[in-house]
């Protein structure tokens, strides 16, 4: 989230699209109701179903799964055509006026530079025209046809209301009503908040779904302001934290990136990470990258990371591919390229697409280590559970270790919520029987392996032997010590240019501004610096003070970065530094400095006249309609059909799907067609359940005991399916037999002139736990991910449904 949960109450319009907050985030959703009560806000839901959020909304517009880019590109077209944009904001705070290189083009569904062999683009020309100083050329008059604003206008021109309606299945009147409502927030003192979740991410075009909405928000001047923003509601309790700390194939903590094969030296690595400003006077804050990286290496390797060895640069593994994501990991597994796998609190047999492939992959492992508080399906993948998990254990060579872990209530530590708050929690009881914390287990594995390397030697033991491990109890480092590591400290006296000591050696740092690239500071995650200072554990703070009652609570816990609660908050004020919305200012220029209720996302004394842009992490200082080379599938979003779709792409039939998506050949062979599987399936969650955990909790197992699908009345009548009867739901990849809930909440949509039915598939059942046993929705879903992130396409695929006599062998 750019903003906070409570800040939602400041919105004038709440658009829930790509999520279902009332169902999946009920206690956060209360702030939407607050917005309605306190701020006369309107709530609009755009979703395939009339879902629980729609049930309390002012307006619901249906949309076919996987067509959000078409819908939102149409919104951009509408805003530009009716001139309902926040002009001053767009001119000053976005890249609308910058001029794009001649080589950039788009035609018939493809951007320039496409290589059909590799399914990738040469992105060289997705860049600005530069002047002789290396700055982007600009045309404030917007006359140049290659200005970003003009290229964008041209790009979205195809998304007419008629086209949007034919693609999305949204009736034109409903679509135009939503456009009008969104446009009403172009006034400087009006804000729309965008609330979204997996409904946008779990598509082969997921990242661009979100980008399209971010572009709408920039046009309306809704980023950085109270009640605005792009607000990803997010899933697990620390999914934000695990992202921040970089537990992803291609990431280091704090959004630094792993080095590649070609980056053989630290200098090579830094060459592409200079972040030289693309406009005069810009902060381009990533220019400090080197300080963050060197400080991190000092946390990792301590004294073994030196200037002489380039801060132990060779100790980091190098990537020969963009990433080793999970879809790739299972592809490698089924081909026998992975021998061992560790699942720490992760249940891929339920959570990853094409369940039969996941089981095939796990069955080829030599060893599988599962660390979990609960008895997961993954740990028992080898068990024969009949149709729910067909298997022949005698033929599976995998050694499986099931290690019992502590749960949330049994350990101290911090979690990052979706508003980037690091909140500390305390241990309430001991773990059951022999269960141990993840920290203890990971330490134990590490120490045993390190000991083996000490005794036996072996392949490149240096990073293992030199891993910094200065904990009071090396077998069980305390969460407080690790939190201090995340924050960082000085390793030597830090002196100012006059030679005076400004920070003593060994002192916890207050901010990432103190980090150095000479090895005199360390920090495990630079964006967290400030969370655990000499003043103590800032994440444990519990002061509920909320200046002007505007949803900031600056002294409750601690927010990254720098305890800032609203990102890009410089953009809450106009060019001169006066708030766009005087009733809800966040920061403003008082003649000497930026003051307000939040920590400025800006240099605190930078004068408005200096022209420093509010998007300080971007090299040009502005928000980007044109994404340069940052996305693999285009600098502008484009509508591509899901890999399984009931219709051809109406915009460019020859380029049906995301051309930059990576699809493995055997996965492609497992895609079905609408001839065999005529209905659109989409997966989702229920308020009574959390993924595959709560089926182990008695009350939740009672509340939603049984696997079911939701099917509209029209389709049910066509198929002769009665409410609460058994059905067989199938895709090219598998089938499930479960109960049908026949509902008024899903209605057929007219897509390209023909009625299209959507079937809803809640995800929560499996073969362990207290609820009735079930298959799990991933028996159906295709193994293809978003082109940028490889997040699987769970939200749009093809299925067929037939009446059934019930579970095999039980009728």
């Amino acid at each position: 989230m750019t903003n906070t949960w409570q800040d939602i109450k400041n919105a004038n319009l709440v658009l829930v699209m790509g999520g279902n907050a009332a169902e999946a985030h009920p206690c956060g959703f209360k702030w939407v109701i607050e917005a309605k009560i306190q701020n006369a806000a309107r709530l609009i839901v755009v979703d395939p179903r009339f879902n629980r959020t729609a049930a309390v909304a002012d307006y619901h517009a249906p949309i076919r799964p996987g067509t959000d880019i078409a819908f939102l590109s149409g919104v951009i077209r509408y805003l530009l055509e009716t001139d309902q944009v926040q002009h001053e904001y767009v001119r000053a705070f976005t890249n609308a006026s910058l001029i794009v290189k001649e080589g950039y083009s788009f035609a018939d569904g493809l951007f320039n530079g496409y290589d059909a062999e590799t399914h990738s683009y040469d992105k060289t020309d997705w860049a600005y025209e530069l002047d002789d100083q290396g700055f982007a050329k600009i045309d404030d008059t917007w006359q140049n046809p290659r200005c970003v604003i003009n290229l964008m206008r041209k790009h979205v021109d195809r998304y007419t209301p008629e086209m949007v309606s034919r693609i999305c299945g949204t009736p034109i009147d409903k679509y135009l009503y939503v456009c009008q409502q969104i446009a009403s927030t172009c006034l400087p003192d009006k804000a729309m908040t965008s609330l979204f979740a997996l409904g946008w991410t779990q598509h082969s075009i997921g990242s661009q779904n979100i980008r399209t909405m971010a572009m709408v928000q920039l046009l309306l001047g809704n980023i950085g302001v109270a009640g605005g923003g792009m607000n990803a509601l997010r899933g697990h309790s620390n999914i934000q934290g695990l992202t921040d700390v970089g537990l992803l194939s291609n990431q280091l903590p704090g959004y630094l990136t792993m080095p590649k094969d070609e980056e053989q030296t630290f200098d090579d690595y830094m060459k592409t990470r200079q972040f030289k400003p693309l406009r005069p006077n810009q902060m381009s804050y990533w220019q400090n990258y080197r300080k963050f990286f060197v400080s991190f290496q000092k946390t990792m390797f301590g004294d073994a990371a030196t200037a002489e060895n380039n801060w132990a640069y060779d100790y980091l593994p190098k990537l020969n591919l963009p990433m080793y994501d999970i879809i790739r990991a299972f592809e490698m597994m089924v081909h026998g390229e992975i021998n061992g796998y560790i699942c720490q609190g992760f249940n891929p047999l339920q959570a990853f697409p094409e369940k039969n492939k996941i089981r095939r992959g796990l069955s080829k492992l030599k060893y599988l280590i599962v660390m979990d508080p609960l008895d997961t399906e993954t740990a028992r993948f080898w068990e024969d559970v009949g149709p729910l998990n067909p298997s022949d254990p005698s033929k599976i060579p995998t050694e499986v270790f099931q290690l019992p872990t502590a749960c949330f209530a049994e350990e101290d530590g911090s979690l990052v919520n979706s508003a980037r708050w690091l909140q500390w929690h305390w241990k309430a009881a001991n773990s059951p029987a022999q269960a141990k914390s993840d920290i203890w287990i990971m330490s134990a594995i590490f120490h045993r392996i390190r000991e083996l390397y000490r005794k036996e030697g072996g392949a490149f033991p240096d990073p293992i032997l030199n891993l910094s491990w200065k904990y009071t109890d090396p077998t069980n480092p305390s969460p407080d010590e690790l939190a201090k590591d995340l924050n960082g400290k000085t390793l030597a006296d830090i002196k100012d240019p006059s030679g005076a000591v400004v920070l003593k050696a060994g002192q916890q740092l207050d901010s990432f501004g103190q980090l150095r690239d000479d090895g005199t500071t360390e920090s495990g995650c630079w964006v967290f610096t400030g969370c655990y200072t000499e003043k103590g554990n800032m994440m444990a703070r519990r002061d509920t003070y909320d200046p002007r009652d505007q949803g900031i609570t600056p002294d409750w816990a601690w927010a990254w970065p720098a305890n800032r609660r609203i990102l890009y908050n410089r953009a809450s004020a106009d060019v001169a530094g006066n708030p766009w919305n005087p009733a809800k200012p966040i920061i403003q220029w008082n003649g000497d400095r930026w003051v307000g209720i939040d920590v400025p996302d800006y240099g605190p004394t930078i004068k408005p006249s200096e022209g420093v842009g509010p998007f300080i992490m971007n090299a040009e200082g502005t928000g980007r309609f044109f994404a340069l080379d940052q996305m693999v599938d285009g600098p502008f979003p484009e509508h591509y059909e899901p890999f399984e779709s009931p219709v051809e792409n109406l915009l460019h039939p020859k380029v049906q799907n995301n051309p930059a998506a990576r699809v493995f050949p055997d996965d492609r062979a497992d895609f079905g067609t609408s001839a065999d599987f005529p209905y659109v399936g989409t997966t989702y969650r229920l308020t009574e359940h959390f993924h595959f955990w709560t089926k182990h909790a008695l009350i939740n197992a009672i509340l939603q005991p049984q696997e079911f699908i939701e099917i509209g009345e029209v389709l049910a009548n066509e198929k002769g399916i009665a409410n609460n009867s058994w059905v067989r739901l199938s895709s090219k990849r598998g089938y499930m037999i479960c109960k049908a809930l026949v509902t008024k909440r899903i209605k057929p949509m007219m897509v390209a002139g023909k009625p299209t039915h959507v079937i809803g598939v809640p995800i929560h059942w499996g073969f362990t736990g207290l609820a009735k046993k079930g298959y799990g929705a991933n028996i159906l879903t295709p193994s293809v991910g978003d082109a940028n992130t490889q997040t699987p396409e769970f939200k749009a695929f093809l299925v067929n449904v037939e009446p059934s006599n019930g579970p095999e062998g039980e009728v």
Partner: protein, 197 residues
């Protein structure tokens, strides 16, 4: 006299002294009645602040535990409710958070390390030492056999691709840092968490 709900429980349950009963307006007869009432367990419980383990709204919760935290005292979580001070959830919880106690005490909670041998159709209880020694052996042997120090171009790459890891996005940042350190020190690249989903 203003009493919060928790204050009421403390006042009424702590000692059941007649003075506190009269403070609440029960008078003499109330004291006799009060003596027949079981003491409130929550009043003697340890209250611990925590965060709901499910979604990223991160509702504040209060966990009530019996046992005073002494080494020999058996601690048992007996009640979990929303933290009324928390600025986001203000004491409320959803159908998942309200039932947290049932996941803490689920019969599906794992108690002991278990091991499944190749070809076997059952898990067997093992000691931590057996499990960890065996894991270390398997991992080291796999790493030594498959570690790639240089690629085909002779570039230094120092990676280990034949063992992968999925990290847990319900663990703490502190666990996350420690996990990152360990996994990357081995040279792992097949390394992700639920954020990929």
């Amino acid at each position: 006299m203003t009493l919060t709900r928790r204050g009421f429980i403390k006042l009424s349950g702590a000692t059941l002294a007649s003075s506190s009963m009269s403070a609440m307006g029960f008078g003499g007869c109330g004291a006799a009645l009060a003596e027949s009432v079981r003491p409130y367990k929550l009043a003697a419980a340890k209250e611990t602040r925590n965060t709901c383990t499910y979604c990223s709204v991160a509702c504040g919760i209060l966990i009530y535990t019996s046992g005073d935290g002494a080494k020999n005292a058996h601690s048992n979580i007996m009640h979990i409710e929303g933290d009324p001070d928390h600025p986001v959830n203000r004491g409320t919880l959803c159908p998942k958070g309200s039932a947290l106690l049932d996941v803490v005490h689920s019969p599906g909670r794992l108690q002991v390390p278990k091991y499944r041998a190749p070809g076997s159709n059952e898990f067997k209880e093992v000691t931590w030492d057996f499990a960890l020694d065996r894991i270390a052996r398997l991992m080291k042997d796999d790493r030594d056999a498959n570690f790639i120090a240089k690629n085909e171009k002779g570039q230094t790459v120092n990676r280990w691709l034949t063992t992968g890891m999925l990290a847990a996005s319900a663990t703490s940042n502190e666990t996350a840092l420690l996990t990152w350190k360990v996994a990357r020190s081995f040279g792992m690249l097949v390394f992700d968490n639920q954020a990929r989903v």
